[in-house]
Amino acid sequence: MSEELVDIRNLRVYFSIYEGLTKVLNGVNFRVARGEKVGLIGEAGCGKTTTVKSIMKILPTPPAIIEGGEIFLEGKDVLKMSQQELQTMRRKTVSMIFQDPTAALNPVFKVGDQIGDIIKFSQLALKEKVTKEEIKERTVKVLKEVQMPDPERIMNSYPIQLSGGMRQRICIAMALVSASNLLIADEPGTNLDVTIQDQVLRLLGDLVKERGTSIILISHALGAVKGLVDRVYVMYAGSMVEAATTADLFFDPLHPYTKALFNAVPKLTGGGIPEGILGRIPNYLNPPPGCRFNPRCPHSMPQCLEGAPPFFDVGESHEVACYLYGGN
Amino acid sequence: MNSELMKERAKRNWYKFSRNPLSIVGLIVVLSVILIAIFADYVAPYPEHAFVFVDFKNAKSPPTLKNLCGTDLAGRDILSRIFFGFRYSLLMAISVLSVATPPGVLLGLIAGYMRDTWVDTVIMRVADVFLSVPSMVLALAVCSMLEPTLYNAMLAVTVMWWPWYTRLVYGLASSIKNEYFIQAAEVTGASTISILFGEILPNCLSPIFTKMTLDVGWVILIGSTLSFVGLGAQPPTPDLGTMVSDGSKYIPSQWWISLFPALFIVLIILGFNLLGDGVRDMLAGD
């Protein structure tokens, strides 16, 4: 067992579609310690959302099939939990902020009621009763925490009456109010303007620091993650390829994919448009054997075809899943 | 599109269609009805009974092996008449839908593309007027003004049917027109006609065809109702609705005269509805 808050071991998730079986997650290893802030970066379709949805076990099965692996949350395997335990977990331990705040809020209920519902259910999980007045109080309190002007008025508004930035903050409030140990934020602020996204991410960072909550921050915007998290995982085509402290990763990326990814981002300092990465992401129906980045990798070796490389340690809390760094 | 892709497409469509076994039931029923209608002369046990025929000795006799559905007031075999009756039901459906759909769709395309202009207002308000009159009432009114014939019944139903397609396509067209590919066509200089028919219409075909399949049942029902009240096909034409009407005075003692035609009306409508569900599954979410 582990004392980690989250410990995913060798998770394999497939999806059953008309054409066959898409082997999306190919042995994911991922850890979050208590109070730790972890970033998860990778491009569209690499499996980031599938991974975190698996932690909360909210993937619809079918078409998803959990083919193997373990997900330890506070020491217990989520994949073996009963319905009751899962419900408690979702109410008490983990909260999620989804990518699109507009889609995450129910358009026909007032925002205050939606927050109130979460308070009610998380209290139920703790087997404590809570009165209407208390719910209202706590709603106002959390709205103030997410810096909403005029909480009373906002509580009685419908999502459509609020701006994108405000809706995102409501989603954050909803995640915070259940006082969970783990917050999963899936691309928060991606759909928002840069200045508003900046505000939202700052807010998130401050709140998480205050409460000592752990956070998994998913983003395909590399820079957004950098200011906020302690450690970063890089994901490619269904598995983690590199994990390091933020400073280490951005200063000295080791995996060929990470390097290519960083190189493909245009720099504010100029220097023209970078090359991009040759090739395309693999087809999950028929993924390449061994390391999935191999077909696009400039350092391809015969070993790479044999089996997906495990994490090799390279210095203090820096791991790389690449045969260039071990396994000889 | 080459044949490889077409085969692949057909396979995929069949997969989607056949996921619900009831759709296949619907397909079988509909195909049977169509085949029987076409080949009624060969399939019916007594094809000569279809129109003018009398045999009063055998009139109003109950279902036996000789006459599976019994005989009617004039001694004609009911089952044979039912088979011929399929022709009129299908004819009703085909003519109404092929005449009502094109103008309905065209008006919907124009109104949707020109949404929020006077064109939109005029077209949709006219459609609203037609839609607000209860369909049966409208059909009856038209039929009573003209001579009661099958042809006029079809006309009546057509007149009241087109606005449903206008409304359907209006909703689709007005949201599609905001898609970027429409704007790209406009920027390039495509004419309004080519945008309506080349860009917007192909994206409306699936809902239109689904609706048409489901509408067949309704048209047949309304057509049968019109003939039931005497405003549609006239004797001796073997129309299912007329047959139900003919036997209505003899219920409950000679129940078969009305019951079997009625049951077959139900069967046809059910068949088309189930088929329509399958068509919807097949065309949706592509």
């Binding site: 491009e43 569209a44 701006s163 994108g164 930035g165 405000m166 303007d193 840069v194 200045t195 508003i196 996204q197 900046d198 505000q199 395909h220 590399l222 820079g223 957004a224 950098k226 200011g227 951005f250 290519a260 990814l261 960083f262 493909a264 981002v265 245009p266 720099k267 504010l268 300092t269 100029g270 220097g271 023209g272 448009i273 970078p274 090359e275 991009g276 990465i277 395309r280 | 599109m1 080459n2 892709l5 898609e179 970027y180 590919f181 704007q183 790209a184 066509a185 406009e186 920027v187 390039t188 200089g189 495509a190 004419s191 309004t192 080519s194 080349g198 192909p202 994206n203 075909l205 592509d286």
Partner: protein
């Protein structure tokens, strides 16, 4: 640095009688009437685009950058103001524009998913502009294959449907479509915002290559400032329908003058330390972007501005050329 700022209400038209100008926009306004009131999407902007250059337009929601592009392309008609193309007045809707103009001005849209008609094959999609401009069937066939080669996609894509190809490839087809009629000017509205970093790099590189080979001029709209830095030769930043600042790219990023520009530049998330150093001092962004129905009085940016003075709340500032080619619309000018 020139201290002698040109303090006059400089309009671009007067300055730019010089040749090489392909697009000129003069005091353009586009208002929409809605139930909530009049939306001043574009509220009096002026700028020019020179032949062969990439003019970048940057701004957040409600800034009016997309509306500007759409009005330029004729999808909207201007409420006021003038748009000229190579000196010809084109301040009219696209349906009224001459066909040869539409041959020369093309557009690439933001969302590759809805840029291509899902019910058509790639071939049919690419043929649309060719058919409109009267190319024969044989000519169309040849040109379509040529276009596919230009965007490095295989010929068997001709028969595919958009739903079967990836987002980046869809955008390549959208670009191919825009190039079909040999245009001179292309508007690109956030062409890579919906795509991943690696796809983005490929597409932008292609766009730059085409610009050189085919002598194209671009209006390039994006909210990604790091991308803008490497793509545009001149940049304009919009806020609530007005242009705040226009400058050559280097100056825009190294010497931003308008407080909004500084706020935006300082919020860009960057990866490397050297990029961090290049950013202006952090201006914490305050407040929400107001709705364009309810614009603030005076300078539209004043409620969020750190340098707001009394005059800012009353008067809309003039656009001043602080240095050659560097224009700012602000009451606090460098002295």
């Amino acid at each position: 640095m020139s201290e002698r700022a040109t303090r006059s209400h400089v309009t671009f038209m007067e300055e730019t009688e010089m040749s090489g100008e392909i697009i000129a926009i003069k005091n353009l306004k586009k208002y929409f009437t809605t139930d909530e009131g009049v939306v001043r999407a574009v509220d009096g902007i002026s700028f020019t685009i020179n032949e062969g250059e990439t003019f970048g337009l940057v701004g957040e929601s409600g800034s009016g950058k997309s509306t500007t592009a759409y009005t330029l392309m004729g999808l909207y008609t201007p409420t006021q103001g003038e748009i000229t193309y190579k000196g010809m007045d084109i301040s009219i809707g696209v349906k009224d524009r001459p066909l040869r103009l539409k041959k020369e001005m093309q557009m690439v849209f933001q969302d590759p998913g809805s840029s291509l008609n899902p019910k058509k094959s790639i071939q049919q999609i690419l043929e649309v502009p060719l058919k409109v401009h009267g190319v024969s069937a044989e000519g169309r066939r040849k040109r379509v294959i040529e276009l596919l080669h230009m965007v490095e996609l295989p010929e068997d894509y001709l028969e595919r449907q958009p739903t079967k190809i990836g987002g980046g490839e869809k955008q390549m087809i959208a670009i191919a479509r825009a190039l079909a009629t040999n245009p001179r000017f292309i508007t690109l509205d956030e062409p890579t915002s919906a795509l991943d970093v690696s796809m983005q790099a490929k597409i932008i590189n292609k766009l730059i290559q085409f610009q050189k080979e085919l002598d194209l001029s671009y209006l390039f709209i994006t909210h990604n400032l790091s991308l803008m830095r490497n793509v545009a030769s001149r940049v304009g930043i919009m806020y609530l329908g007005k242009l705040c600042e226009v400058a050559p790219t280097g100056e825009f990023f190294s010497k931003p003058l308008h407080p909004y520009t500084k706020m935006l530049l300082s919020s860009i998330p960057v990866i490397t330390d050297e990029e961090e150093r290049v950013k202006p001092e952090k201006v914490v962004s305050r407040g929400e972007i107001p709705s364009p129905v309810n614009v603030p009085s005076g300078c539209y940016f004043h409620p969020r501005c750190n340098e707001c003075k009394d005059i800012c709340m009353r008067d809309d500032p003039p656009m001043i050329e602080v240095e050659p080619g560097h224009f700012v619309k602000c009451h606090s000018e460098p002295l």
